[in-house]
Structure formats: structure tokens, C-alpha cells
């Protein structure tokens, strides 16, 4: 019990800094790919701190309630995950968090936010099956839903559920809001939706969204790592490679329409899930 709490608290304290470092490296590598120098590695932290220096301005007061709930539940999701709890509950908590984010965008009653919210919903719908199937795969491979048991499994789970790993890497692009699946909001200017989902969030409100994003990044990379948990260093290497791949894809592709996103994500989930779970079930 004590270890679990230490891990959870550790996540809550460290994750934003780790997330910021990852984000900073991301921007640095992206800049280098484009032949630029890029911002300092700690830039994501500066951005967040700056946002909290701005005035507390909103389009509607209620919006902050939804966004704060989003942040809290993202943190809760990650803490559950890193304290080794039930992975299905982790996924459900994440869905709840995202529902709050989407409701926050709806509550602004602004056209750009509204479309962003709808697209975020599409993204949520595209990703959800793969996450649940991955959880099912972990269970079939180890006989437990507890992240703790999965992490302590003696063999790398990648060997038993490789297709689910591929599926998770695929939907990671959607979850990290990377091109070609940055439909709801993106890091770049000049998109047709202004800033989509986050258009109406200013100052500290946006700051909360950004912090939640840092937590989320760490959580998802943790999920990737879980496939190699029995070999922690190999796992770390894989996480680095996967993230580099995400940056590469981000920089070399253009945004697709939602139809393509939904179809491809579901197809990947269906093929990966059906084959991998089927093989596990029949063996």
C-alpha cells in the first residue's frame, strides 16, 4: 500500500516536469528537423508559468469548472496507473477526464470550440476501442487487470501481444495530438479551426489544459513502456524510439479528414484486436 502511494505521489509531482522535458525535446528535435535551432528545452514549463501570469479571463465562468475537473481526472488517471491499479478503471477515468475537456469546450458556446469539441469526440471514439482491447490483451496475457501485476510479469508482454502494441502506438499519434491526427486542436497556427477545442481558453484556463497534457504524455508513454516492463531499460529505449517516430510522423504528414482517422484507427484496432486476442484465446 505504501509503495503504491509513493508511486502515485511521485507521479503527481514529477510527471509535469518529465512531461515538460519530453515536450521541450520534442520542440527541439522538430526544430532541428526543420533546420532551426528551436526553443530552450524547458520552454513548455515557461509557457505554463506564463499562462498563470496572465489575467484570469474566461468566456463563461462555468468553463473553468470543467477544465479543472479535466485536469484533476487526468492526474487521477495517471496516479492510478502508476500506482498499479486496475487498468480498465484507468481507461474509464481517462474517458471521464476527456468528457470534461469536451464539455468545457461545449460550455464556451463558441463556433470554433464547438467544432473542436466534436472533433475531439471523434478522436475519443477512434481511440477508445484500442485502449480497451489493449487492456483485454494484458488480461489475457497475464490473467490480471492490475497494472502492478502486468508490470511484474516476468516476460516482456510485447512477445505475446505485439499487434496490440502496434495498435497502441498508432492511436498514440491521436492522443498526443500529432499530425496527421491533430484534428481537434494543434500546436501550430493557421489551421482552419483557429485553435479548435482550446480556442476560447485563455490564461490560467489554458494553463490547466497544458498541464493536463503534460501528465497525459507521461501516462501514455508509461502505457507504451508497460509492454516491455520486464526489461525496464529496453522499455525506456522503446519509448524513446516510439516518441521519436511520433515526432517524425508529425513533421512529415499533413492533417487528414476525420473519416480517415476514424476508419484507420478502428481498422487497426479491429485487426490487431481480433487477431491478437483470437490467437491468445485459441492457443
Amino acid at each position: 500500500m505504501i509503495t503504491e502511494i509513493i508511486f502515485a505521489v511521485g507521479f503527481i509531482i514529477l510527471a509535469p516536469f518529465i512531461g515538460a522535458l519530453i515536450g521541450g525535446m520534442d520542440r527541439k528535435v522538430t526544430a532541428r528537423m526543420q533546420g532551426r535551432v528551436g526553443p530552450p528545452v524547458l520552454q513548455p514549463l515557461y509557457d505554463v508559468f506564463k499562462l498563470f501570469e496572465k489575467e484570469k479571463a474566461v468566456v463563461r465562468n462555468e468553463v473553468n469548472f470543467y477544465i479543472f475537473s479535466y485536469l484533476i481526472f487526468v492526474v487521477f488517471t495517471g496516479a492510478l496507473f502508476f500506482s498499479g491499479s486496475d487498468i480498465l478503471l484507468v481507461i474509464f477515468a481517462l474517458t471521464l477526464a476527456h468528457a470534461f475537456l469536451i464539455l468545457g469546450a461545449y460550455a464556451t458556446t463558441s463556433p470554433y470550440s464547438h467544432i473542436g469539441a466534436e472533433r475531439e469526440l471523434l478522436q475519443l471514439m477512434a481511440v477508445e476501442p484500442m485502449l480497451i482491447l489493449a487492456a483485454a490483451g494484458f488480461y489475457m496475457a497475464t490473467g490480471s487487470f492490475a497494472v502492478k501485476d502486468i508490470a511484474l510479469w516476468p516476460e516482456p508482454l510485447f512477445m505475446t501481444i505485439p499487434l496490440l502494441f502496434v495498435g497502441i502506438v498508432f492511436v498514440l499519434t491521436i492522443k498526443l495530438r500529432k499530425s496527421p491526427f491533430d484534428l481537434a486542436t494543434s500546436h501550430h497556427a493557421h489551421q482552419e479551426l483557429v485553435k479548435g477545442l482550446t480556442t476560447e481558453f485563455a490564461g490560467p484556463t489554458l494553463g490547466m489544459v497544458e498541464i493536463a497534457h503534460l501528465y497525459e504524455t507521461v501516462f501514455f508513454l508509461g502505457l507504451v513502456w508497460l509492454f516491455f516492463a520486464s526489461m525496464p531499460w529496453v522499455g525506456l529505449l522503446v519509448v524513446i524510439v516510439v516518441y521519436f517516430l511520433e515526432i517524425l510522423i508529425d513533421n512529415t504528414t499533413t492533417r487528414v479528414r476525420w473519416q480517415v482517422m476514424l476508419r484507420s484507427a478502428w481498422l487497426v484496432a479491429l485487426v490487431a484486436g481480433a487477431i491478437n486476442l483470437g490467437v491468445l484465446a485459441l492457443l
Partner: protein, 635 residues
């Protein structure tokens, strides 16, 4: 025993009174009174029998069975008359065949002082509470609603006496279904629910579409009833002593003996639970006044369908028939959820979500393992409460804003804050962690994973629940999309409507918080009694759930903080100045309103497209199942 008989007879007798009483305050008061008595007696029933396990009651069946047979013949004659009058020859044929089969079977079975005709066990108690509490609350709601309904539809003949009588007959029949151990009795009550739903759906009989939908519902349920009737023929032919007519004997006989009746009753259950390909009757039933929809969807009718399937779940465990039933449920869950995306009519969304959730229950029951049954029963409970709450709040909203379209509910939180909050709680209860349905989904997933070939169901569930998140969240979004401070619309909502809505909301929250108690006092004893083992959520997960409930309940308090000290910025409409009620300055200086609509993705999730696929697939599964039965009969 007196309690059980009271619960069956009292609403029926009350119905006789309502046939006579004219519209007016006296009738309204008596409706409330009768409902209150039913609720009180149901609660007393819970207190008396909650810890008692399974209790059987001997009632001399001879006389009662004859009365039932007599009533059945009268009902059949009535249906035949209607069918002939409106040229529904298929229905007439089904009625005749069904009656023939039942009478034939009865002649085969020499009833030797059948005992244990009534019984009660924890599952019956749960069902009785759903029927008694939720059903009665819907009756109370109807008092206010129907008054409004006839003001809105002044051209319609006012048949409210008839309406209230039917509501209570319906409740009586439902109590009969869940308390009967004698399958003949169960069947009688089953057919009464079919009849009541037919008459209630056809409440606005003068309308042609209404009549058509009512007959369609009747037709599909008669098909199911025929399946039920065939059970008796089979029992009569294999075991003329009539011992198997008792549900407990039949269930105890195990799959080797009971497979065929279980499959036939499962088939009947599928029709009543509106699974694909039979789902269309429930969608058509939306034409009835809202309390009828609420009743059909939450506490009665469809719940009778899943009730029998869950009852026979132990027989289905690890069998081909059970697996096929599960697949029908799973496919229905996925596709009905998909169709709900493309609907903007709130009642239709609710209808498809009901079909989907019943699909999940059926999928669990078809798997029939202890974990699956545990999940199925929890699903039934959560769904009943959330769905009745949603239907009733949509009904109230419809009367106030004059539309049941979700797009017209934009910013409802500003216009009708109280009802909107109740609706939000209901919707959250349908799909969000940590509320009820999600616990059940968790349990269902665990159950599927442990079942042989369960991975296909896992796939269906994974995609289905993603789809569910989509259509509920966008509805929620519409409700909270408040652009301006509009005038409140809530002034004229009747006390009767609040009298049902508020308790249901409280019940919803209470069940979410108190579901561990519900599980350990009622569901676990039932499951344990059958399987000798049971599923639970596990202590660690329980703690997480409680934490999440706590967080969700505490979170709105942050509004107190976020409400003050904020500068309000104008919204971004491409840089054009926009007013606070979202009108922007368009070209040549014209003020234009901003209109925001949700995605319905009709090209991908259209009703026709998906229901064609679903019907085809499910017909194939059911045909396979029936073919299997035929082979079994021949062999």
C-alpha cells in the same frame, strides 16, 4: 405469500377502480395513493425477504390456472376481433396458432397438484423493486404529464381512465412475471404485458401510424410468445407428468434436459427485449405518450425479456445456444449504439440506447457464467433507473419547449436548470465513470474475457462503448451550451412530475454510491446461490470507485471559487464582434445568430444502413440457434 399475491392483485384491482373514476382530482389522488402503497409494500417485501434466500409458496393451482386459461381465451378472442377488424391476418393467425399450441400442451400435461407456484428470491426482489418503485413513480408522473398531454392534443379523445387502468394492470402483470415459478403462470403474465404494451402504444388509436406501430409491436411479441408456447408443447411431449413446468425443476435439471426450452424461452426473451432483428417494435413504440415509453423501457416489458434470459443464464453457460444468444446481444449493443449517433430525436436516442444496453445484458446472460450474471443484474438495475429518469425528463422538457429534438435542447441548463441537471445526472449515469453503467461494463468485460470465445464479445463491447461515449457526450454538450441568460421556463412543471423526477434522481445517485450494498445484499446472494461462487469488484477497485464518486460530487463545489473574480471576454467569431447572446455582425452590417449543430454522421451510422446489417446478422444467429433446437428435437 400474502405480500406477493397482494402485489399482483392490488394494482390489478386498482386498475378496475380507475376504469370507473372520471378525470379529476380524486383520481389523481388515488393514483398517487396507490403508487405510494405499492412502493411501501415493495420496500416491506425487501425488508422481509432480503436475507431469506429463495422461498417457495404453495398455492393450489387448479382453479387459478383455469381462470388464467379462460382469460387467455378471452384475450385471444379480443385480439382476433381487432386483427380481423384492421385486417391484420398475420396477427390473427399467430394468435390462433399460439392458443392452439398452449391448449394442446395443457391437454398433454396432467397437472398433479402442482406446488410452489409462486416464489421469491433475491433476483425477484430486485426486479420487484424496479417494478414497484420505478414503475409507480412513472405512474405518479403520468398524472401531471397526461393532463398536459391532453391540453397539447386537444383533438384527441381523452381516454385517461383507460390509460391509468392499463398502467396498473401492466405493473400487476410484471409482478406476476417475476414471482411466478409455474411457467404457465409466467406465460400468462407475459402475454398480459404484451397486450398492455399493445394497447398503451396504441393510445392515440385514431392515428394511423400509431395503430400501425402498435400492431407491429403486437406482431413481434406474438412471434416471441409463440416461441414460449412451444416450450409447453415440448414439456408436454417429453414429460407428461408436468414436473418440468416448474421453473426451479427445469433449471435444476441442467442443460442436458432444459436446453431446448431454455433456447425457446431465450428466443421469446429476445423479442420482448427488443433485440435485433426485433428491435423495430420498441423504436415504433416511441409514438406513445412519454410515460408509456418510460415504462416500457425501464421497469416493465423489455425488462421481462431480459429477466427470463437472465433466469435461464445458468443453462446457457458454455453452450452453443448461449453463445449465439450472446452474439445477438453483442451485435445489437454495437449497432444500436451506432444508430443512436445518427438520431437527433431525444426519444429515439433513448430507444436505441435501451436496445443497446439490453443487448449488453443479453450478451452477459448468454455467457451465463457467475461473473456475467452478476454484471447483467447490475446492468438491469442501473439501466432501469437512469433510463426512466431520462425519459421522464425528456417528456417534461418536450412539453415546455415543444420539441423532443436534442438540437432544440441547446443551453437547456440555462433555461430549465433543475430538469437539465436531472437529465445530466441521468446521462452521466448511462455512460460515465464512476456512475453505475460503467461498473457493469467493467464487470461484463471481465466476464467476457473469461468465457470461451469471449474475445469476439470483447471486440463488440470495446467498439460499442466507444460509440456510446460519442452520442451521450454530444447530448451532454448540447445541454450545457448556454449562450445567454434566458428567461426560465420552469414555472409550470406540475408537482406530480417533480414528484417522480426528484426521487429518481436521488435514487440514481444513491444507487451509484450504495451499489456495493446492493451487490452484497441482493446480487451476490443470488449468484452465489446458483453457482456457489460470485464476482465482486475487489476492495481496491471499490476504493477507487468511491474516490471517483466523491470527486465527481465534490467537483461542482469548485464552481463557488470559479464563479467570481473573472473577467468575461467576448467569444471568438473570426474576429467579428459578437454579442453575448451569440449574434455576430455579418456582411453588410446584418446581425446574424450563431447556430451550432452536433455531428450526426448519418452517412456512416444511418438507421437504415446499420439496422439492415444488424437484422441480417442477428437473423442468421437466431436461425442457427433454431436449427440447433430442431436438430436436438429430432435427435
Amino acid at each position: 405469500m400474502e405480500l406477493l399475491v397482494f402485489l399482483i392483485l392490488f394494482p390489478a384491482l386498482a386498475a378496475l377502480v380507475f376504469c370507473i373514476l372520471p378525470n379529476g382530482r380524486l383520481r389523481d389522488t388515488i393514483v398517487v395513493l396507490v403508487s405510494a402503497i405499492i412502493i411501501a409494500v415493495t420496500l416491506y417485501l425487501f425488508v422481509m425477504f432480503a436475507g431469506a434466500g429463495t422461498v417457495y409458496f404453495d398455492i393450489e393451482s387448479g382453479m387459478i390456472s383455469q381462470i388464467m386459461t379462460g382469460l387467455e381465451i378471452i384475450i385471444s378472442a379480443g385480439l382476433l376481433y381487432l386483427a380481423a377488424k384492421y385486417r391484420q391476418y398475420l396477427i390473427a393467425g399467430l394468435v390462433v396458432v399460439q392458443l392452439g399450441v398452449v391448449l394442446y400442451a395443457e391437454s398433454l400435461i396432467q397437472e398433479t397438484a402442482a406446488l410452489n407456484n409462486l416464489f421469491i428470491d433475491p433476483f425477484s426482489i430486485i426486479m420487484a423493486m424496479i417494478i414497484g418503485i420505478i414503475g409507480s413513480l412513472i405512474c405518479v408522473y403520468s398524472v401531471g404529464y397526461m393532463r398536459d398531454y391532453h391540453t397539447h392534443h386537444a383533438d384527441m379523445p381523452d381516454k385517461r381512465r383507460w390509460f391509468f387502468a392499463l398502467l396498473f394492470v401492466f405493473l400487476a402483470a410484471m409482478f406476476g412475471v417475476v414471482f411466478s415459478n409455474n411457467l404457465f403462470w409466467l406465460f400468462f403474465f407475459w402475454e398480459v404485458t404484451t397486450l398492455c404494451s399493445f394497447l398503451l402504444i396504441g393510445y392515440n388509436w385514431g392515428d394511423e401510424q400509431t395503430r400501425k406501430n402498435a400492431f407491429w409491436a403486437l406482431l413481434l411479441n406474438l412471434v416471441g410468445g409463440l416461441g414460449f408456447a412451444c416450450t409447453f408443447a415440448w414439456i408436454g411431449l417429453t414429460d407428461p407428468s408436468g414436473g418440468l413446468i416448474m421453473m426451479d425443476t427445469l433449471l435444476a435439471a441442467g442443460p442436458a434436459v432444459a436446453m431446448i426450452p431454455a433456447a425457446l424461452i431465450g428466443f421469446a426473451g429476445l423479442t420482448k427485449a427488443a433485440q435485433m432483428p426485433f428491435s423495430s417494435w420498441l423504436v415504433g413504440a416511441m409514438i406513445a405518450p412519454t410515460p408509456v415509453s418510460a415504462l416500457l423501457h425501464s421497469s416493465t416489458m423489455v425488462k421481462a425479456g431480459v429477466y427470463v434470459i437472465v433466469r435461464f443464464a445458468p443453462i446457457y453457460n458454455v453452450t452453443m445456444v448461449g453463445y449465439l444468444i450472446s452474439l445477438v446481444g453483442g451485435v445489437t449493443f454495437l449497432l444500436a449504439s451506432g444508430i443512436a449517433i445518427s438520431q437527433s430525436n431525444a426519444k429515439k436516442v433513448l430507444a436505441y440506447s435501451t436496445i443497446a444496453n439490453l443487448g449488453l445484458v443479453v450478451a452477459c446472460a448468454g455467457i451465463g457464467s457467475y461473473a456475467a450474471v452478476w454484471a447483467a443484474i447490475l446492468l438491469i438495475v442501473f439501466h432501469a433507473i437512469a433510463k426512466s429518469l431520462l425519459f421522464l425528463s425528456v417528456g417534461t422538457v418536450e412539453h415546455k419547449i415543444g420539441s423532443r429534438d436534442i438540437e432544440d435542447m441547446t443551453g437547456l441548463l440555462g433555461r430549465m436548470p433543475k430538469v437539465a441537471v436531472m437529465m445530466i445526472i441521468g446521462i452521466a449515469g448511462m455512460f460515465l465513470a464512476p456512475f453505475g453503467m460503467l461498473i457493469s461494463k467493467w464487470a461484463a468485460l471481465v466476464a467476457f474475457l473469461d468465457a470461451p470465445y469471449g474475445f469476439i464479445l470483447v471486440l463488440l463491447l470495446a467498439f460499442g462503448s466507444a460509440v456510446t461515449v460519442f452520442f451521450w457526450t454530444k447530448w451532454l454538450g448540447k445541454l450545457i451550451e448556454v449562450a445567454w441568460k434566458p428567461e426560465p421556463l420552469e414555472v409550470k412543471i406540475s408537482n406530480h412530475e417533480y414528484g417522480a423526477l426528484v426521487p429518481l434522481t436521488v435514487l440514481m445517485v444513491a444507487v451509484c454510491i450504495g451499489f456495493p450494498l446492493l451487490s452484497s445484499y441482493l446480487v451476490v446472494p443470488y449468484v452465489f446461490g446458483i453457482y456457489g461462487m460470485t464476482a465482486t469488484l475487489g476492495q481496491a477497485n471499490m476504493i477507487i470507485m468511491v474516490m471517483m464518486v466523491f470527486m465527481v460530487l465534490v467537483m461542482p463545489l469548485t464552481l463557488l471559487h470559479f464563479r467570481k473574480d473573472r473577467k468575461i471576454l467576448p467569444r471568438y467569431v473570426g474576429g467579428r464582434p459578437a454579442t453575448s447572446d451569440m449574434h455576430f455582425k455579418g456582411s453588410i452590417g446584418v446581425q446574424r445568430p450563431v447556430a451550432l449543430g452536433n455531428y450526426y454522421l448519418a452517412n456512416y451510422f444511418g438507421e437504415q444502413r446499420l439496422s439492415h446489417i444488424g437484422n441480417g446478422v442477428c437473423i442468421a444467429f437466431i436461425a442457427l440457434m433454431l436449427a440447433g433446437i430442431l436438430l436436438g428435437v429430432i435427435a
